[in-house]
Amino acid sequence: MYWRTIPQRYKMIGQKCKKCGAINFPPKGVCKYCQTSSEFEEIQLSGRGKVHTFVLISAGGAPPEFAEQEKAGGQYPVAIVQLEEGPKVIGQIADVDPKEVKIDMPVKAELRKIYTEEEVIRYGFKFVPG
């Protein structure tokens, strides 16, 4: 299932609706804003945005495939980031003291290791301050 979303995870490719002009990310079959058009052009998102809301995941809150990461750091931040092109997307925040994460904090996306399953490393975007 992971590989199907590689254009989003590696390159942050969004969809610009040809009818209403709004940007969908992650992709939809029908534009989630005008709910009428399925005609899109692919656009490259900048990966820049600001924290809309966040959570610090501790023991008990992590899925099993992220339990090791939680154990290593004690907790890890996950945010919904409002991207500068409009859409919001969920992702982890790396390279930050979890206590420093704040709503409206500026962040940018970078390609990072997400988790390992069945000895395969999965890569994708995480956000970092900046």
């Binding site: 959570v55 995941i57 008990g60 809150g61 709503i103």
Partner: protein
């Protein structure tokens, strides 16, 4: 269309029962339902059954509704499993109501069952954290505590909702659940305990989260024209509503509103000709404490953003003007996923008939009540309004 009545309701104990599987748990609820029918029930009258179930850890994914109903002796009837994550039971009830309304069947069983403690903790989390938009939410490292924490954090930011407000939900529901002999956790907790619980997904701590639970429930729905054959005091279905939403919270325009709840509530109010003011008590989906606060707002019990002060002022405790989760809610009664919605119907049936097991949590004289069942973080919602 036919008018619909509820004439019987039963529930198993909620908790951790290693000696019971889904068949035995469901049979316990079924027998309890049967015993509740005042003038007796000939099981042959039951023509159809809808069973809410998320998947019981994956070990009976196929044909589970036929399995649990034939175990009860209801072989050869129309039956199907209804799955909408944690709202499966609420949707099973709505499916049964629509079956009767349409005139297809006259007496229909709505039930639910879940067995959550048969698999290891790791497997359980694999199984449970997959009712959001899995490709994005799960693969960012969250389960449902994390998703509701994202909503809570923003609610606190936008409306000044306090840590204490979240904990007040837990304290209230444990106080109520302590008076429910079928609840999983029949004990009270203090506000200090609730505030200082170990962090699970900040801002949510252990006391903000419901547990994993084994349990089952069943209600008998019938054509209102024949209700008096079963009891002199039926409860009527005044209205219902169901609505879905974007599964991923990041896709929703408003992070702190469950639009599914708002729309399902609106539909139920419209169908019943009632307003939020008419609702005298409610069972709402408090899988996490923030979820109960959202329900107050999205069901119109208080203004948007005012749920914190609303609980602080005591409106929703037993004795308040709008008691919520007198059963103990998911928090204290337990949350056996597929059973939760019909378990709420069991509580409301007894509240409206004045037959709650322990009179200390009976809401006296209540005539109109609402039940509210949420799937995942709001991807699906079912609301039913019942009246005496």
């Amino acid at each position: 269309m036919k008018k619909v009545a509820i004439v019987g309701a039963g529930q198993s104990r909620y908790g951790d029962f290693p000696d019971k599987g889904i068949k035995e748990l469901f049979f316990e609820a079924y027998k309890d339902m049967k015993a509740s029918v005042d003038k007796g029930l000939d099981p042959k009258a039951i023509e159809s059954a809808y069973i809410g179930n998320l998947g019981s850890g994956g070990f009976q994914l196929g044909n589970m509704s036929a399995l649990v109903t034939e175990y009860c002796g209801l072989t050869h009837i129309n039956t199907m499993r209804i799955e909408n994550a944690c709202a499966s039971g609420g949707y099973a009830l709505v499916a049964a109501v629509m079956d009767v309304m349409s005139g297809t069947h006259k007496a229909v069983l709505a039930g639910g069952v879940e067995k959550m403690t048969d698999v290891s903790g790791v497997k359980q989390k694999y199984w449970l954290g997959v009712s959001g938009d899995t490709e994005y939410e799960r693969l960012a490292g969250t389960t449902f505590s994390g998703l509701y924490a994202l909503i809570a954090q923003r609610h606190m930011h936008d409306f000044g909702t306090k840590r204490e407000h979240l904990s007040m939900v837990a304290v209230k529901n444990h106080k109520n659940g302590a008076q429910n002999p079928k609840a999983q956790f029949q004990r009270e907790i203090t506000l200090e305990q609730a505030i200082k619980g170990p962090i699970v997904a900040s801002p949510l701590n252990l006391f903000d989260c419901c547990s994993t639970t084994d349990g089952a429930s069943a209600v008998l729905v019938c054509d209102a024209e024949i209700a008096k054959q079963y009891t002199d005091t039926p409860v009527y279905v005044a209205g219902f509503g169901t609505a879905s939403d974007f599964l991923a919270i990041h896709d929703r325009p408003d992070t702190t509103t469950l639009e599914g709840t708002r729309r399902a509530g609106e539909m139920a109010y419209k169908m019943s000709g009632l307003t939020p003011k008419d609702i005298q008590l409610a069972e709402v989906h408090d899988c996490f404490t923030i979820a109960e606060l959202l329900a107050y707002e999205d069901l119109g019990f208080c203004e948007k953003g005012k749920a914190g002060p609303f609980i602080e002022q005591g409106h929703t405790q037993i004795g308040g003007d709008k008691p919520v989760n007198a059963s103990g809610g998911l928090k204290s009664k337990g949350h056996p996923i597929g059973s939760t919605g019909t378990g709420m119907a069991y509580e409301m049936f007894n509240q409206l008939r004045g037959s709650v097991q322990k009179p200390t949590r009976q809401i006296k004289g209540a005539e109109i009540g609402l039940i509210h069942n949420v799937g995942g973080s709001g991807g699906t919602v079912a609301v039913t309004i019942m009246r005496r």
